[in-house]
Symmetry: C2
Subunit: 338 residues, 2 copies
């Protein structure tokens, strides 16, 4: 049985979305047991509206909540009975294998480092979501809290990202590219210029050079390496721009009677395409490099679908032992370097 | 008469695209005279295929070309008879009011500073394209060559961008926001954290705080302030992602007979929407803060439409005296500060 915690507080859609997603996740994954951390009274009431395997779902009562207005590190240290801290402790104690939250990114990331801790040799723990491209999926690493990162940290992110893509996504020799403002080697800011030769010298990755952001949507690399500030800008622009364009297209289709009829006729084909760009199918972003267990951050405005996808993703992560493979891969790399 | 130079070399589509755009621009703007810098023989041959007002178009022969493989500063200094340097000298000498190029960004930017020079008080010259949003247009400043910029440089960019949006785009009290990874004041990397209080203290701008990149496409600010590396990533991702999504949507419409018929019915409405996201209608990005004259960088793969739009944009820039207004606005700000 794979044990997964869902933090039911902190997301924009509250416990109802988390609970509905949990029930769906439970139904789709018969080898999963879920722990829901949050307000027992509310959770019991919500759960009473569903039919589910009661042996595989346990509610863990918590009296506190961490919100995005809390200072992350302080909140994790002080709010010991929050749904986030209680949930992470279940992972720390080995009672659970994975943890899912739609709460404050900062607090989730801080909690990962402070409560579970980094694996041996891991300099920083990057947040690495998958981006939909015209060719499939690319891993964007890092979108987390490590702003103003150092070159050697980025090199390790490239290694972790490669291990992830190879072992979890089944990509052979994943192509690693660093986000840059041109493809010529002399281009870039200080960080990119310093990191570039280190990546070239790193034998355990398949470094293909710089990537300009316009090439990212066309799947020109499997691991898109960048420091967290730029990664965050890329991730959120991807989300916002897709949403805006799709909204404008839908609006344009509702303009005339003719276009409305046309819209009905393309609806089915269009829907299949659009669902490719729907982040809710992607199952959230894993925080890589933890000592043990898994931490998956889903979007703040996640609905039931996102939670259910995250449960499936966590299950697959545990089955393929992504954390173990990263620790193993980094250790191997270190031995080669010595 | 407004005199505009078009650099016919350096772009991906070569002189044919530039010449076709020039002829269109000439036709649409009866108060414009064009200088085409490039290879006279080729240009004369291309021009012989068009009917145009010969009194308003002059070919300036050049023996050299600057490509994107040249180191920018060195190329500008050494290739004195290149289409880029010859063109910029026409502006420097006052023979032309504006200059358009699809050539190497680095060389165009370096040429602007080295040949024309910065206006008094201007610390750096930012490249500031307009981004299409669901509400109209926002100015993205800076996308140029000033990577790893200093906080005080960003503040001046915010001022220049505000002057531009107010005077050229007619936006009253343009909302300035700095690109950040969260909207809370304590979020950000070192540069954003240092710049934020300076922007708050700057009385000549309407600073509204941080903007997350997901809000940019929805027009939540008029001036999107960021250092050039991030700006370049935003600009190119905007371009690449729009292109990829539209391509996938078109592909999805061609899947079945039914969806093909549907596609025909929505074609007209859809086309109007899509043209909003077509960079070719935007007329390129101006380099702000030059001593005099104008420099407009159009996309490397510009076609005739982009060159024609750039001619119109340059004409409007000269008419509204954007350079003069920026110099004036910055001087006013400096006097207030003293």
């Amino acid at each position: 049985m794979i044990n997964i915690v869902i933090d039911t507080l902190g997301g924009d859609n509250g416990a109802p979305a988390a609970v509905e997603g949990a029930v769906k996740g439970l139904k789709n994954n018969p080898d999963v047991k879920l722990y829901l951390t949050g307000k027992k009274k509310e959770l019991d009431q919500l759960l009473s509206g569903y039919t589910y395997d009661k042996k595989r779902l346990e509610v863990v009562d918590c009296s506190e909540e961490i919100t995005c207005h809390d200072a992350p590190v302080e909140a994790v240290k002080k709010k010991k009975d929050s749904s986030l801290v209680v949930g992470l402790n279940l992972v720390k104690e080995g009672k659970a294998d994975a943890f899912i939250s739609a709460g404050s990114s900062g607090a989730v990331l801080a909690g990962g480092s402070l409560i579970i801790g980094r694996a041996k040799g891991v300099k920083r723990t990057p947040l690495a979501p998958l981006l939909p491209t015209s060719e499939g999926m690319s891993l964007l690493i890092d979108c987390g809290a490590n702003v103003d990162a150092k070159p050697e940290v980025l090199v390790q992110f490239a290694q972790m990202g490669s291990i992830y893509m190879e072992n979890i996504m089944g990509v052979k020799k994943p192509r690693v590219a660093i986000v840059n403002i041109g493809t010529e080697e002399e281009k870039g800011n200080a960080l990119v210029k310093e990191t570039f030769p280190l990546l070239k010298a790193c034998k355990s990755i398949n470094f293909i050079g710089s990537i300009e952001s316009r090439e990212i949507p066309f799947g020109k690399a499997d691991v898109i390496l960048t420091e967290a500030f730029v990664g965050n800008v890329i991730l959120k622009l991807y989300e916002g721009l897709s949403k805006m364009i799709l909204k404008e297209i839908k609006k344009s289709m509702m303009k005339t009677l003719k276009s409305k009829i046309g819209a009905l006729m393309i609806k089915k084909s269009l829907k299949a395409t659009l669902s490719n760009f729907n982040a809710s199918n992607k199952g959230g972003a894993p925080l890589l490099g933890l000592k043990h267990g898994l931490l998956v951050k889903v979007h703040g405005n996640s609905k039931d679908e996102e939670f259910a996808s995250a449960v499936l993703q966590c299950r697959n992560f545990v089955k393929t032992d992504v954390s173990g493979k990263i620790i193993e891969g980094l250790a191997k790399e270190e031995n080669t370097a010595e």
